[in-house]
C-alpha cells in the first residue's frame, strides 16, 4: 500500500469508528422514517368519533337530512343558533354553521372544541359540495345526467415532438432528481467542512510538520479528501440500505390498522383496483402516493441516475473539498475561516436555488447554463438527469462532465499550492493578496 493509501485508511477509519458517525448513520434513517411515518400515522389516525350539529340557516333548509352518516361522523340537524357556551356544554363535538348566504357564497363555518383532522374536514366539505351541487341542479332544472355530461375535467398532456412518449411526468421525475441534488448538496457541505476541520486540526496540532517530512503535502491533502469522500459514500450507502429496510418494515410497525392495509393494497394494486381506488380517492380518500411513486420508478433511468449521482457527488466533492482544504490550511482558527468560506458556499447555495427553480421551469436557460458550469453543475445536473436527455441536448451532459473533470483538476492544483504554503504558516493574518502570492511560490 502506498503512502496515500495509508493516509486514506487513517482518515477513513478514524472517522468511521467515531461514535458520532455510527450514531448518525443509524439514527439518521430512523429519525427520518420515524418522522415520516409518525406524521402519516398522526394524520391518518383520526379515530375519535364526531357528533356534528348542522345549524342550517339557509332559506328552506337546503341541508336538512342531506348528510350521510359515516363511520365516526354522525350528523344532527337544527335551525336554531347556539351560543359558544351552549355548544361547549352540548354533546356535539363539531358545529357546522351554514348561514342564509351559504348557497350564494359557497362558504360556511365549522366550530370545534378539539380541532378535527384534515380528513374529517375533507369529508364534510365533500358532502357539502355534493348537497349544494344537487340543490343548484334542481334550481336550474338540470338533470343529473345532463350535468354529468356537461361537467368537464380536462387533462392536458404535454408532448415533446422529438419523442414518442408524453412528457407530463417530467415534473414529477424532476422532484426525484431534486432529491438526489439535495443529497449531493448536503454531503458536499457536511463533508467539505469536515475536510477543512481535518486540515485545521493537523495544522493547529502541528503534527503536519512531522507528516510532511514523510509525505508530500499534496499526498496528505488528497489522502484526506479521498478518505473523507469514502466516509460520505459509506454513510450514504448505509442510509440507503437502512431506509430501504425501514420503509418496508416501517408501515407494518407503525400503522397496524386498516389504513396501513389500505396503503399496502394500493401499492400492489392491479390497474382495475387502482381505478377503483382512484374513485375512492375522489370520495375523500387519501391520494395514492405509492402508485405515483411506482410509475415514476419506471420513468427514471435509475442505473444512469445512480451512476451520474456518483460521478457528480465525487466530482463536486473533489472540487469543493479541495477548496475547503485550502481554506483550512490558510487560516489559524475556525473564526478566521468565515471570510474565505463565503465565496465557496455562495455558488453551492446558488446551485441549490437553481435546482429548486428547475422544478418549476425545467427547460429554462438558467438551468441549462448552471447545469454545465462546474461549481453549480453537481447539484443542478441531478434534476436534469432525472428528467432524461434527448439526442439534441445530451451533449450538454458530456460537456458538463468534462468541464467538471477539468475544473476539479484545476481546483486541486490551486488548493495544493495554497495548502503547501499555508500549513506551515502560523500567526499571520491571511488576505487574498497573500494567497495570490502563495500561488506563485515554487516549492
Amino acid at each position: 500500500m502506498g503512502k496515500i493509501g495509508l493516509i486514506i485508511t487513517r482518515e477513513y477509519l478514524s472517522r468511521v469508528k467515531k461514535k458520532s458517525f455510527i450514531i448518525m448513520t443509524f439514527l439518521g434513517p430512523i429519525l427520518m422514517a420515524g418522522l415520516i411515518f409518525g406524521a402519516v400515522a398522526l394524520g391518518l389516525q383520526e379515530n375519535d368519533d364526531h357528533e356534528v350539529l348542522v345549524v342550517d340557516k339557509t332559506p328552506g333548509g337546503v341541508f336538512k337530512g342531506k348528510f350521510k352518516n359515516l363511520e365516526g361522523l354522525k350528523f344532527h340537524y337544527s335551525t336554531k343558533d347556539m351560543s359558544n357556551q351552549e355548544f361547549d356544554k352540548s354533546p356535539y363535538s363539531l358545529m357546522l354553521y351554514l348561514n342564509d348566504q351559504t348557497v350564494e357564497m359557497d362558504a360556511g363555518e365549522l366550530f370545534y372544541k378539539d380541532a378535527p383532522g384534515f380528513s374529517t374536514q375533507g369529508k364534510i366539505e365533500h358532502q357539502i359540495e355534493g348537497v349544494l351541487e344537487d340543490y343548484k341542479l334542481e334550481l336550474h332544472k338540470i338533470s343529473k345526467e345532463e350535468y354529468n355530461a356537461i361537467s368537464t375535467e380536462f387533462n392536458l398532456v404535454t408532448k415533446d415532438i422529438n419523442k414518442s412518449e408524453d412528457d407530463s411526468y417530467k415534473h414529477k421525475v424532476a422532484i426525484v432528481g431534486f432529491g438526489f441534488a439535495i443529497v449531493i448538496y448536503l454531503f458536499i457541505f457536511i463533508y467539505g467542512v469536515q475536510v477543512m476541520r481535518g486540515v485545521m486540526e493537523e495544522k493547529t496540532s502541528r503534527i503536519v510538520e512531522v507528516l510532511i517530512s514523510s509525505v508530500k503535502p499534496f499526498e496528505l491533502m488528497m489522502g484526506k479528501i479521498i478518505g473523507i469522500a469514502l466516509v460520505g459514500l459509506t454513510q450514504f450507502l448505509l442510509w440507503v440500505i437502512l431506509t430501504a429496510i425501514l420503509s418496508t418494515a416501517g408501515p407494518a410497525l407503525f400503522l397496524k390498522d386498516k389504513y396501513a392495509v389500505q396503503e399496502i393494497a394500493q401499492q400492489q394494486a392491479t390497474p382495475e383496483v387502482k381505478k377503483e381506488l382512484a374513485a375512492k380517492m375522489k370520495a375523500g380518500a387519501e391520494p395514492d402516493v405509492m402508485a405515483e411513486f411506482n410509475s415514476l420508478k419506471e420513468r427514471i433511468n435509475f442505473p444512469l441516475m445512480i451512476g451520474m449521482f456518483l460521478f457528480y457527488f465525487l466530482g463536486g466533492f473533489l472540487v469543493y473539498a479541495s477548496l475547503f482544504a485550502a481554506i483550512g490550511a490558510a487560516v489559524d482558527s475556525e473564526t478566521d475561516s468565515q471570510q474565505f468560506m463565503m465565496p465557496i458556499t455562495i455558488p453551492l447555495i446558488f446551485g441549490f436555488i437553481v435546482a429548486e427553480m428547475s422544478l418549476m421551469n425545467p427547460g429554462g436557460a438558467a438551468v441549462t447554463w448552471f447545469s454545465i458550469i462546474p461549481l453549480t453543475s453537481p447539484v443542478v445536473m441531478m434534476v436534469r438527469v432525472a428528467q432524461g436527455f434527448d439526442p439534441g441536448s445530451i451533449w450538454q451532459l458530456f460537456v458538463s462532465m468534462a468541464l467538471l473533470i477539468v475544473f476539479f483538476v484545476f481546483c486541486v492544483w490551486l488548493a495544493g499550492k495554497i495548502y503547501r504554503t499555508g500549513i506551515l504558516m502560523y500567526g499571520k493574518k491571511i488576505t487574498y493578496k497573500e494567497l495570490w502570492k502563495w500561488l506563485r511560490y515554487n516549492g
Binding site: S14, R206, I207, V208, V210, S213, G443
Partner: protein
Amino acid sequence: MSTLLEANHIVKQYASHKALDDVTVHFPEGCVFGLLGPNGAGKTTLIRIMTQITAPDSGTLIFQGKPLERDHIYQIGYLPEERGLYKKMKVGEQAMYLARLKGLSQADAKTKLHYWFKKFEITQWWDKKIEELSKGMAQKVQFITTILHEPKFLILDEPFSGFDPINAELIKGEILELKKKGTTIVLSTHNMSSVEEICDNIALINKSKKLLDGKVTDVRKTYSTNTFEIDYRGTTEQLERALGGSFDLQANGPKGDYLSARISIGKDAQLNTLLQQLIPHVDLNGATEIIPTMNDIFIKVVGANNAGVGSGLTE
C-alpha cells in the same frame, strides 16, 4: 570522517525577507552537530530544506555523495520544535501510522515500537489517547516515532524542551547511543550547556548567514583569550610584584585556602613565561586555562554581528 550531508550555497527568499543567504554547512557522519543561532536566524528554514519540506531557491544538497532526492526521506528523521500528534488518536495507532509513513512494514513497525515502548517504560500507554497524556509523555512518544525508522540523519529541534531533568537525561543518553551507532544528529537548540556537553561540531547562523562553524573544541580555542586562572598561596602584593605590569590581572580573590587570580597574558605570550615569572614570588597551586563557554561565544559573535549590521546598514 566523511560528510553525510552537504548543504552548499543555499539561498531561500520569502516574499518579504531572505531566510537563508548563501549558507554552506557540511554535516560529518556519526557526530552530534549543533545548529545554533538566535530566533528567526533561518535555522528552521535550513532544516525544512534538508527534510525536503520546502525547496531552496538556489544551492545544492548532497546526501552521501548524491543529490538529495525524495527517497532519502526514509533515512532522515525530524523532530520539529513545535511538537504535535493527533489528540484524539490512540498512542499505538498513531505511532504505527507515523512509522508506516516512514516506510516501515506493519510487522516491522510493531516489533520496533514494542521494543522502544518497553525501553521507555510506556507500554501501558499504547491504547491511551494523546489528549490523556501529559506534555512530557507525549514528547516521549514523539521522540520514539522520530527515531523508529533508524534514520542515518536525525534532526532534533530543541529536543530537551518540555522534559523533566530525568527524561532529558534519558533523551541525552539515547542521542549519544545513536551517535555511537553511526547516526548523524543535528541538534538545533538554545541550550548552550547541552551543546558543550554533547555536540562535536557546530554551525552558527545569524540573520540568514552562517557566521562560523567547525569542531566545538576548535571554535572554543579560536575564541579563547589566553586567560588563565592561577591558584596560589601568598599575598596580593607578592603577586602584583611578580607580574610587574607585564600581564593583565583581571581579578583576584580568595578561593578556599588559596587566593585565585585571573590573568590575561595576551595573544602571543605563553603560559610558561607567566609561570616562570610567578614561581620565585608565590607558592603556586594550580593553573587552568579559561576557555570561553559556547554561551559566551554565541553572545559575542551574534552581538558583534548584529552591531555591525546595525551600524552599516540603514535597514
